[in-house]
């Protein structure tokens, strides 16, 4: 593999010798960092304005039982200003699995480090709250270690339910007359959307402290991916962000295609772009609709859900399923576009804007909604970046960051559209930005439709990647052999590693895939956009009332399937 010419090479010179060594990388500059100097390197990269790696995208653990230093922790960094990426790798031995915590440099490290601790048992020195996050407190072992049996089952008993430690300020009565109390919001509460539990400390109606408990929908997608072939992982990706399942399909398939070195044919790319944008519209509709319902505005919900219903009709006509579409395949699409695809899309383009107009008339200037949302759960752009935010929520805080523009994939660099940015950073702007992005998505779709459906196949004609058409498989011996080989052994992805990203509906959706050349992923890490956003939640709702917390959660667009994987 070629050594990627490291743009931040001058940065290396600022560091003491051999604290970081550039190594070969397929997709982005990669540094091998010594564990002792990790903190120093991180400080230089994150806190130093000239380095400007202000966004910690992901922390991923990898287990290599054969190596002398068994574990590896991979940090993915991003510079919003320069659109540069950098990967740091730190080797950690099994006997002494301790790393310095980077929480002082990037607050986003908080939950990511907890996740690595949970999944691999690596400890982070200096982490204020290092406990399990995705699995339960009573869980034994670390599921993503290679020696953990994937078929193992656990039974959880009542007495093992997590209760937060009493805080030192619990007994303080404060100046007012209210007695502080601790309540549970969720996990089975309609306002908690998916399955979150918030243990909130209340002073009257004001939340003084809170702890977010997630993992109720955890199914260890990453472990499942390791025991299935590359092709078999696609239906699992549907269940990450199930409000816009198609974008996950695209993100995953593009990742594997890059590893394989194949490219989807123009028709598949064209359709992927259109369907991704429709999925984004749908996701924004669900998010805004649900937020407004949480605030008590029910009517909008029906106006939002009608376009969504019709878009599901389009996806169903393409793939055969409404929610879990699995329409992408590695190297293209699962099936050809339906004959009335273009007409169907045009019909949707006609029907969506009137609904959005109606919604805007209902709520945009509605004082009830304004009172509930303006200034609620506000966060500045700088802080949002430090917490690892991406996507519409970050753009609502005034930071123009969009993978579609900065690292264009599919056809996004060939169409004319704008990255919408709003300055407020509060729930109202998060609502507004989604309304505006729906219009931008429609603009993209309209331009692509005007170009007409590209001619050609919908999937690559490579029997090592795509199943041969049934007609051919039934009539030709070789095709039948390929058919059997591809299903029995899976796609043979060459050894290597890659981080590939798409703009999901709520931020940068990244897939970090490591292949060892066998037919199955060695490690597949998803960078879920709402994970770092949710980690900010208890910070956001502190000092607000309980009803503000409900509206804030809606505005952040947290999808449990993706958050907890």
């Amino acid at each position: 593999m070629p050594l990627i010419e490291t743009a931040p090479a001058p940065l290396l010179e600022k560091l003491p010798a051999d604290s970081a060594v550039p190594v070969e990388g397929l997709d982005q500059p990669t540094w091998l960092v010594r564990r002792e100097s990790l903190k120093e390197v991180a400080k230089m990269l994150g806190a130093d304005a000239s380095a400007g790696f202000d966004l910690l995208l992901d922390v991923c653990g990898v287990d290599y039982p054969g190596r002398a230093e068994r574990f590896e922790v991979v940090y993915h960094l991003y510079s919003i200003g320069r659109h540069e990426r950098l990967r740091l790798k730190v080797a950690v031995p099994e006997e002494d699995p301790v790393l310095p915590s980077l929480i002082d440099v990037w607050k986003a490290a908080n939950w990511f480090e907890r996740e690595v601790y949970d999944m691999f048992g690596l400890r982070f020195e200096g982490h204020p709250n290092l406990r399990r996050i995705l699995t339960h407190e009573a869980f034994e072992g670390h599921p993503l270690r290679k020696d953990y049996d994937p078929a193992r089952r656990w039974i959880l008993t009542e007495d093992k339910i997590y209760r937060p430690e009493p805080r030192p300020d619990d007994e303080e009565s404060g100046d007012d007359m209210f007695e502080p109390m601790t309540i549970n919001i969720g996990p089975s509460h309609p306002a908690m959307h998916g399955t979150f539990r918030i243990v909130a400390r209340l002073d009257g109606e004001v939340i003084t402290a809170s702890e977010v408990e997630i993992g109720y929908l955890h199914r260890c997608f990453e472990k499942m991916a390791e025991t299935h072939t590359w092709q078999q992982v696609i239906p699992f990706t549907d269940r990450l962000n199930y409000c816009s399942a198609f974008i996950n399909n695209v993100g995953y398939c593009r990742t594997v295609e890059k590893l394989l070195g194949v490219e989807a044919p123009p028709k598949a790319v064209w359709a992927s772009t259109i369907l991704s944008e429709f999925s984004r519209i749908m996701d924004h509709c669900v998010c805004n609709g649900a937020t407004l319902v949480d605030a008590g505005a029910l009517t909008n919900f029906w106006y939002f859900f009608q376009p969504r219903e019709e878009i599901y009709g389009l996806l169903e006509a393409c793939s055969g399923a409404r929610l879990t579409v699995s329409y992408c395949r590695i190297g293209g699409l699962a099936a050809d576009l339906p004959p009335d695809f273009e007409a169907h899309c045009r019909r949707l383009l006609e029907m969506i804007p009137p609904f959005m107009d109606d919604i805007e008339k209902l709520v945009d200037k509605n004082r009830i909604w304004l009172d509930r949302s303006v200034g609620v759960a506000a966060i500045s752009g700088e802080q949002a970046v430090n917490w690892g935010w991406t996507g519409p929520c970050l753009r609502a805080s005034g930071v123009a960051n969009d993978v579609r523009r900065d690292h264009p994939y599919d056809l996004y660099d060939t169409v004319d559209w704008n990255v919408v940015v709003l300055p407020g950073g509060d729930v109202y702007d998060r609502y507004r930005i989604r309304m505006l992005e729906i219009r931008e998505s429609l603009k993209i779709i309209r331009q692509l439709l005007d170009r007409g459906i590209p001619e050609g196949p919908y999937i690559v004609d490579d029997p090592h990647v795509a199943l041969p058409p049934k007609d051919v498989a039934y009539n030709q011996m070789e095709a039948m052999i390929y058919h059997f080989k591809l299903i029995m052994d899976g796609i043979q992805v060459p050894a290597g590693e890659i981080y590939s990203m798409v703009e999901g509906a709520n931020g940068e959706l990244g897939f970090y895939a490591i292949s060892d050349g066998s037919g199955k992923p060695y490690r597949l890490k998803v960078r879920p956009p709402c994970f770092p956003i949710m980690s900010t939640f208890s910070h956001l709702i502190q000092g607000g009332s309980v009803s503000d917390a409900v509206v804030s959660l809606g505005g952040l667009n947290i999808i449990a399937g993706e958050l907890e994987r």
């Binding site: 078999q232 239906p235 055969g320 339906p338 200037k365 004082r367 304004l370 303006v374």
Partner: protein
Amino acid sequence: MTEHPKETRPYRYSLAERLYLPLLSGLAVTLKHFLRNLLGRGPGYTIQYPEERRNYSHRFRGHHILTSRPDGSLRCVACFLCATACPAECIHIESGEHPDLNIEKYPVVYDIDMLRCVFCGYCVDACPEDAIIMSTNYDMAYFSRDQSIATKEELSKPYTYDTSRLGYRPHYPEEEAQRAAIREGVVDLIGEARRRQGSAAPAKATKAAPARRGRAKSTEGQPS
């Protein structure tokens, strides 16, 4: 935590907003929808399920169907490709030797756990015999987990061959003519089998396979 973020631009309410006037335009919107629906001009989105059902495409991935040969026996040759391709590991097959030497193997047991199934359609993609296809039947409800396991008999019940309710299967019959041909060839297998049984001794299975895009020929030439 001391640094609770409260930095946001001040929002200035206009006079109209302070007086809740924009609510009126919102009321106009709902009134418009109300009147339109009342006068029957509305799009009428509500569906009276289960009397009325959504019209799904013929790619819909619903309850599975095991197709049969014209003589009524299952087309499945128990090659286990579907069980291998299944990401949810919900297909359980036990194979047995078929008395007909041309067929060799057949599934003694073929169970699909419908509660495990994720309806991805990979089994249909994998099948080299067109032996498993899907229907548009999506209302599956059970009183116990045992009931959720669909056996060979349930998967091949003749009622699942409702022509209008065929779902995901290889070769999308996009054109109406093609679809009609498929109705003739695949769908009415039971009827065909009955007709044959009435007329003469059952023909050899391979030869009688419906002539669809050279399918019959290829079956013969294919080592089973």
